[in-house]
């Protein structure tokens, strides 16, 4: 069992947790993820490692409740335990492999959308620790959904944009990137993490602007160790397993349409389970939405 030491709701249905997982904490690097099971009957759900403390043996996750499992997870409090935490999985971010000198020469921009904001944090923080500056664009639907703002401010040049203009710049992240570019920020490396649709459009833009772009893919997974092939996607015409070959890939080579399509695979069944979880005992069918 893996103990939850801290649990907070950062925004509506977005939860941050600090969990005891010494093996993961001692080995993880930015860009990697872990898989948890909430309880003995739970599904295996992949989550990015948002921060870690090697000494305390803890990892931090930020999770958006969107389905049955993440909904259950969000209900847990400090002191509760998770049945399983396994990791770190996947390859560390490419940035960790590059020499610091090379990194310092680059103008790097991170584009974070929604809950994808959380996984950007360890990368920006890691760069800061290496003495490398970077820009981060956080995009959210509305002001209330902007998360981790204070922590980001300490490690990067932060630009916030909201779809409805309620905070920061106005419009989607692609508009913010275009504006920043037009304002004279000539980036030579971009990392985009967020919903697939956002990553797709960021990649379209960065291709036009000629900025090499890394994306972090989050397909459906089961084992996370390369055993099941559920997470496969096509990158540059080749089949890759996101859990072992990724999760980061060259965004200009990813077949997003196919990847987004594959996400729909369990949608109907999942939707039913979510209803069941939310409505608990009140869910007896008959509403016409399921069964």
């Amino acid at each position: 069992m893996f103990k939850i030491l801290e649990a907070n709701e950062l925004a509506n249905n977005i939860f941050q947790m600090i969990v005891e997982a010494p093996r993961v904490a001692s080995a993880c690097l930015p860009g990697q993820f872990l898989i948890i099971r909430v309880d003995e009957e739970g599904e295996r759900i992949p989550l990015t490692i948002c921060d870690y403390d090697r000494e305390k043996g803890t990892v931090e996750i930020v999770v958006q409740a969107i389905g049955a499992e993440t909904f259950k997870l969000g209900k847990l409090k400090a002191g509760d335990e998770l049945a399983d935490v396994v990791g770190p999985l996947g390859k560390p971010s490419d940035l960790c492999e590059e020499s610091i000198e090379d990194l310092k020469k680059k103008k790097i921009v991170f584009i974070a959308g929604g809950v994808g904001t959380a996984p950007v944090y360890p990368q920006a923080k890691w760069l800061k620790e290496q003495g490398v500056d970077c820009d981060v664009i956080i995009g959210a639907k509305t002001k209330d959904l902007v998360i981790l703002e204070d922590r980001f401010k300490k490690v990067c040049n932060l630009h916030i944009t909201t779809d409805d203009g309620s905070y920061g710049r106005s419009g989607m992240v692609t508009k913010a990137l275009q504006d920043l570019w037009d304002e004279g920020n000539k980036y030579d490396h971009c990392v985009a993490i967020g919903p697939m649709i956002m990553m797709k459009f960021v990649c379209k833009l960065t291709q036009e602007l000629g900025i090499p772009t890394i994306v972090s893919m989050n397909p459906i997974m089961v084992d996370g160790t390369g055993m099941c092939g559920a997470c496969r996607l096509t990158v540059g015409g080749e089949v890759k397993f996101a859990c072992v070959d990724g999760p980061e890939f060259d965004g200009h080579k990813v077949d997003f349409d196919q990847a987004m399509n594959r996400m729909k695979l369990y949608k109907t069944e999942e939707g039913r389970l979510l209803l069941k979880a939310q409505e608990g005992d009140t869910h007896h069918g008959g509403c016409g939405n399921c069964n």
Partner: protein
């Protein structure tokens, strides 16, 4: 009875079992087992033993069954095998012990597998456990992977008195026994879990949720955590795909994904939170045990199932019993057939598969006749799911993170057969990780050999 015919084993009716996940074979009762045991000739030079990869003293245990001494029979088997309830169920007996039995020359061979299963199941019901270590050695050994090879190696080392920890990547122990082989062939709670508890009762520690190579490396286990030897039994879990058009469509799965969802995650159970597709018409590509398991699982989830295999009936690598059971249950075999392309609708869901007919050509070096396409013989099978079951290879997670661990062209770890010794000092390996996908009993045999190898290595150190 003239002794030429084996005592038939009771099975769940084919029609009924096609709709449930309960065990197909019900096994012998006492009377049936003792009857079948009388068919054994107690040969002086027992050929059956030569056919068993772990050399169980078959005539001895069968005599004990005949005499009604189940405990004795269990201890006889336990000297050679740590998982008899498993092997009695899943060994390809027709090509191993029973394939060699002299009774088989004229009539049916003795039902060695069913008798082994009877002994193991009865011993379990009676609460008989394998005997543990008498004396502790103060030496730590790490075992990576909790499949048959790892469990056997760990069990044997614990019996010798070593302090053994198994590290398992998944949340549950058992390897293919829990994630691959379905409930209707190998019950999880009643059989697999109990066998694992037996291994634990020998003092073996089990740490799940640890991916060696990611959570911690072999070098760190040895340098920082005090393990003096390591056994790698990480299996061959990496699935192959065909690289044909349409393979990324929704409704195309690897057998591993389909079976893992159903077995490990219990998706076959309506109450499970893990989703699984319940196809209407499903094509399973391949002809091995894995293909049979995927096909029979899909059938039980409500599908009409076609097995598409490029060679003929004789060449099907699956156990004969499984092929027979699959046919009885209504699975359709499209043999000498190979897929060319998978089709999907405008939303990306599978709608069908184009296949081509094959003929067998001349035998190749391995003696197997290789299939060749019959030009112009393409035809379509309508379906909403395709399950690829084309074999697996070892996962590179360990080989790529362990310095000095040699692998061969097929990505298998190179290890000496007799001792399991790899190219790296103190590191031993066995099972599918070394041989590529093989069988439970071969993996167990390798785990046993490595336990001996590790004991010799640590005794001389």
């Amino acid at each position: 009875m003239d002794g030429f015919v084996r005592v038939p084993v009771r099975e769940q009716d084919a029609k009924e079992r096609a709709t449930n996940f309960k065990e197909v074979c019900l096994g012998y009762n006492k009377e049936e087992a003792e009857n079948e045991a009388t068919r054994c000739l107690n040969c002086k030079n027992p050929k059956c033993v030569q056919g068993c990869p772990v050399s169980i003293d078959i005539p001895a245990f069968i005599q004990q069954v005949k005499e009604g001494d189940v405990e004795g029979a269990y201890q006889t088997i336990s000297k050679s095998s740590a998982l008899p309830a498993v092997c009695g169920r899943v060994c390809p007996q027709e090509s191993q012990c029973e394939g060699q039995c002299v009774r088989g020359i004229k009539g049916d061979p003795v039902s060695i597998g069913k008798l082994e299963r009877y002994v193991a199941d009865t011993a379990r019901e009676m609460g008989i456990k394998p005997a543990g270590a008498t004396e502790k050695k103060n030496k730590k050994v790490a075992v990576i992977g909790s499949g048959p090879s790892g469990l056997t190696c760990a069990g044997d080392l614990a019996k010798m008195g070593y302090d053994v920890t198994i590290f398992e990547a998944l949340h549950e122990a058992g390897g293919v026994l829990v994630y691959g082989i379905p409930e209707f062939r190998l019950p999880k709670d009643a059989v697999v879990k109990k066998e694992i508890e037996n291994v634990k009762s020998l003092g073996v520690k089990l740490e799940t949720d640890v991916v060696i190579g990611k959570s911690v490396t072999i070098d760190d286990l040895m340098a920082k955590e005090g393990f003096e030897a390591v056994f790698v039994g990480s299996g061959a879990g990496l699935p192959r795909f065909m690289n044909i058009p349409g393979e990324q469509a929704m409704g195309v799965f690897s057998a591993n994904e389909f079976l893992t969802r159903s077995n490990l995650m219990k998706a076959f159970d309506e109450n499970s939170r893990t989703p699984i597709m319940r196809p209407k018409k499903c094509v399973v590509v391949g002809g091995g045990n894995v293909a049979m398991d995927a096909a029979r699982t899909a059938l039980r989830l409500g599908a009409e199932v076609h097995v598409v295999y490029r060679r003929g009936e004789e060449e099907l690598p699956a156990r004969k019993e499984e092929v027979g059971h699959a046919k009885e249950e209504g699975i359709i075999f499209d043999l000498l057939t190979n897929p060319v392309e998978i089709h999907a609708d405008e939303n990306g869901w599978v709608t069908g598969i184009t296949c081509i007919r094959m003929e067998l050509g001349e035998p190749d070096e391995s003696g197997r006749r290789s299939p060749v396409e019959v030009p112009g013989s393409e035809f379509d099978i309508e379906c909403d799911a395709v399950i690829m079951s084309l074999g697996t290879s070892p996962n590179p997670l360990i080989s790529s993170t362990t310095k000095g661990l040699e692998i061969n062209r097929r990505k298998c770890i190179v290890a000496e057969e007799a001792t399991g010794q790899t190219s790296k000092e103190g590191v031993f390996a066995g099972g599918d990780a070394v041989t590529g996908a093989a069988t439970v009993i071969l993996a167990m045999g390798a785990g046993k050999a490595a336990a001996k190898g590790i004991d010799e290595y640590l005794s001389n150190k």
